[in-house]
Amino acid sequence: MSTPSNGTENPLRFVLTAVIFVGGLFLVDRGVATLLDFAFSFTTTGEGSGQANSALANRDRDVVFFGSSRARQQFDPQVVHDEIGLSAYNAGANGQGLYYARLLERLMLGRGSSARYFVLQVDEQEVFGVTPARVGFLRPFAREEPLVGRVWAEADPYGLVKLRASGTYRYNSVFLSMMWNLLRHREADEDGFVPRDAPARENVQVAAEPSPRGTGSAHLPSHESRELIQEFVLDARRSGIRTLLVSAPTFVEATTGDGVPPESLPEREAWATLAEWARDLDIPYLSINQVTYPVFARQDLYLDSVHLNVEGAEILSRIVARELAAMEAGERAAPAQPQETP
């Protein structure tokens, strides 16, 4: 049998050194992770870091919005407050899909949110398929909420192993963003709303993002998406929070006339599916599009095909506020399909 040999070093000493090295690494990792936990708790800005802390800090507002950039840039809490007097916070985030929203909700509920309404904006493509994209941004909370780790394990088969083996791993790809935002001392947005009046400087990764037209070839509704929405709604309900499901407008150029998008459009399938899911879950669904609100056939309200400008966002926020008012008044027990334009 071959034996590790070296003229100058004893192999047993090498093994011992290796064990000490690994042990030391474990301790260093845990020590650094503790420092990072401390630093992270003071970070309140940054998409990849403290933004979630801000959302969690505002978990007790009457209304909390969830969703992607189509929520973050389009739901104005101030409008909701002005319209119906409820305090609101926009916890949307760029790329916040159903997984991300679900985890953020769990964290809020875990910390005892006293919100009254959760407004969940669902992008059409997520009806046909979801990925745990950007869930990595919530890894710092993996110890607080075990579901974060379990979801992360769906994105990475070794996710749980890594989370257990390393404390610092929770800050992978978040670390620099966290330090940057911590050192900048920028105040967190008061209500999370980030209006845009010019097209965003698109992240260069945008080409890799799923098309808003859905990824499934046959546009089959995703069982996973339905389950995520169901868990979101039922968990909120258990905490006494009502959910409003919303799909924000998409500008469809190719219409059959009068600004009405064709029946075959994947978005229309998505809206119909969401309406069905909402019915099953007994929650209101606000499908806001060119069919239900012809005002959104106006191209000048859009920055691009899926993002509204400030004027469009205000109109959208008013529609949502009125729906919340209807819920508040007990007028909405079933999915809504309003036709009027505010």
Binding site: P4, F14, F21, W180, R201, V204
Partner: protein, 475 residues
């Protein structure tokens, strides 16, 4: 199984443990089984191509010893070349050839009815084909004894650390190590793991971060300004370097743990002062292969200057084509051929010019380094762009409409940290005659350990963990 995945490290840990535990005489068998398993994890059926290449070149090697007839030897060599290059052509170049023919016949208005072939490019085919060809050519030339043991030869072709992206090893270097395995050495295990760790840092912290920006910009060149395209091109230069040299470091490091010395593949190429120097530092195993088996047989430096330039150009054009089945790769090789020819033609006058101006050496070398880097970057544009139209657009935009720059703060931050570490290490290597090992060993143990801990934590905190494929796997 990629080097930057946990799967690989679990596999490697198991193999390394068994290698250290098993008697040395069985080591080749274990490594052969492990190598085929490694390859078959990607695509089991394509292991047959590896086997075919192995059997053909083993047989050709054996047959070459059985005859002294020049004609027979040439015929045997021809069989090896035909089979190896035939497989390479079929699996790597057929579609390219087919499309080029269809385009050509379309241009002249003729019909072209040859059917297309839809096959997956076998990972590492260019690498192991060149490795086996080198063996047969060396045996034919009489500079390499043919291997009698099929198992040893099969391991030479398939040795997993360098199977899919090199270094392209010569039989004279690797086969003796397979025949007479080294005893496991503590120092080799330690330095091998350290090198692999450094390679992993280069791959996941630098190359994969850079790729986020580069892929975004080069994926839609017309949407970006000249300045952004310039930055993306610089980034690509470092991305491909860190990706490939990172791979090579992991290959060399893991092989070292298993008791094998692989050849160095990179020698701080962006510190090169001219393009000839660059090719002595970049992908050394390929450049020396091209030199020994293509450039010198073509005539090399012998003959009239025009012949030498032709030899350079042919070698680099084929070197470009080796990288990928696309005209943009050929253009990349052609540009390097041109740079090499011009560099050779102007060497005397440039030397005289520097001498006349009396420029201090350090300034002269700095200027030459910057010029060389930009010539390499210009060629990288063709290497990275998905079409000639994109490549020319990039160059035009850089020259004529610089505009603003797209700054992705997060990526830039990661890249700044990664490149600062890389350039510091490489500058120290340059000052230390190519290695920083004595410098590291001279440090107190706590400082050394802190350095290694920092490297591990940097990988954990800053690395892209999606298991991104290595660029050279596609070649």
């Amino acid at each position: 199984m990629l080097f930057n995945t946990i799967d690989f490290w679990v596999f490697f840990g198991g193999v390394a443990t068994l290698v250290l535990a098993l008697p040395r005489r069985y080591r080749w068998l274990l490594l052969l089984v492990a190598s085929y398993y490694f390859y078959m994890r990607w695509n089991a059926s394509y292991a047959l191509l590896l086997l075919l290449s192995t059997i053909v070149d083993y047989s050709c090697g054996r047959a070459l010893t059985a005859t002294s007839s020049v004609r027979s030897r040439r015929l045997i060599l021809l069989v090896s070349l035909a089979v190896n290059l035939g497989v390479l052509f079929t699996f790597k170049y057929w579609t390219f050839f087919h499309e080029s023919m269809a385009w050509f016949f379309g241009r002249i208005g003729a019909s072209y009815e040859v059917p297309a072939l839809s096959v997956l490019l076998p990972v590492g085919i260019s690498f192991y084909t060149f490795q086996t060809l080198a063996y047969t050519i060396d045996v034919c030339r009489g500079v390499q004894q043919p291997e009698r043991h099929l198992g040893y030869f099969a391991l030479y072709v398939s040795f997993f650390p360098q199977l899919v992206a090199g270094p392209i090893e010569r039989a004279g270097r690797l086969l003796p190590q397979i025949r007479s395995p080294r005893a496991a050495e503590v120092d080799r295990i330690q330095t091998g793991l350290q090198l692999a760790l450094w390679g992993l840092f280069k791959k996941v912290v630098i190359a994969d971060r850079l790729s986020i920006y580069v892929d975004g910009v080069y994926g839609n060149v017309t949407a970006h300004t000249g300045l952004t395209l310039l930055v993306a091109t610089y980034f690509f230069a470092f991305q491909i370097y860190c990706d490939f040299s990172g791979y090579s470091d992991i290959a060399i490091g893991t092989a070292r743990v298993l008791g094998f010395d692989l050849m160095k593949n990179f020698e701080r190429p962006y510190f090169a002062c001219d393009i000839r120097d660059f090719w002595r530092r970049w992908h050394i195993s390929l450049s020396t292969w091209l030199r020994d088996y293509l450039y010198i047989p073509l005539g090399g430096n012998r003959g009239r200057p025009a012949s030498v330039y032709r030899n350079l150009m042919v070698t680099m054009l084929l070197g470009g084509l080796w990288h990928g089945a696309a005209w943009t790769f050929v253009a990349w090789g052609g540009l390097h051929g041109l740079w090499l020819a011009v560099s050779r033609a102007t060497l005397a006058s440039r030397t005289e010019l520097w001498r006349r101006f009396g420029v201090p050496n350090v300034v002269r070398d700095g200027v030459r380094m910057v010029i060389c880097f930009h010539l390499v970057c210009l060629a990288w544009v063709f290497f990275r762009a998905s079409s000639f139209a994109d490549a020319f657009y990039v160059i035009r935009a850089i020259v004529s409409k610089p505009g603003g720059i797209y700054v992705d703060v997060l990526t830039f931050g990661h890249v700044a940290v990664g490149l600062a570490v890389l350039l510091t290490v490489e500058a120290l290597q340059s000052m230390g005659g190519g290695t920083i090992r004595p410098l590291i060993q001279g440090l107190p143990a706590p400082v050394r350990w802190a350095g290694w801990y920092a490297l591990v934590l940097a990988i954990v905190l800053l690395g892209v963990e999606s298991g991104t494929q290595f660029i050279y796997f596609q070649f």
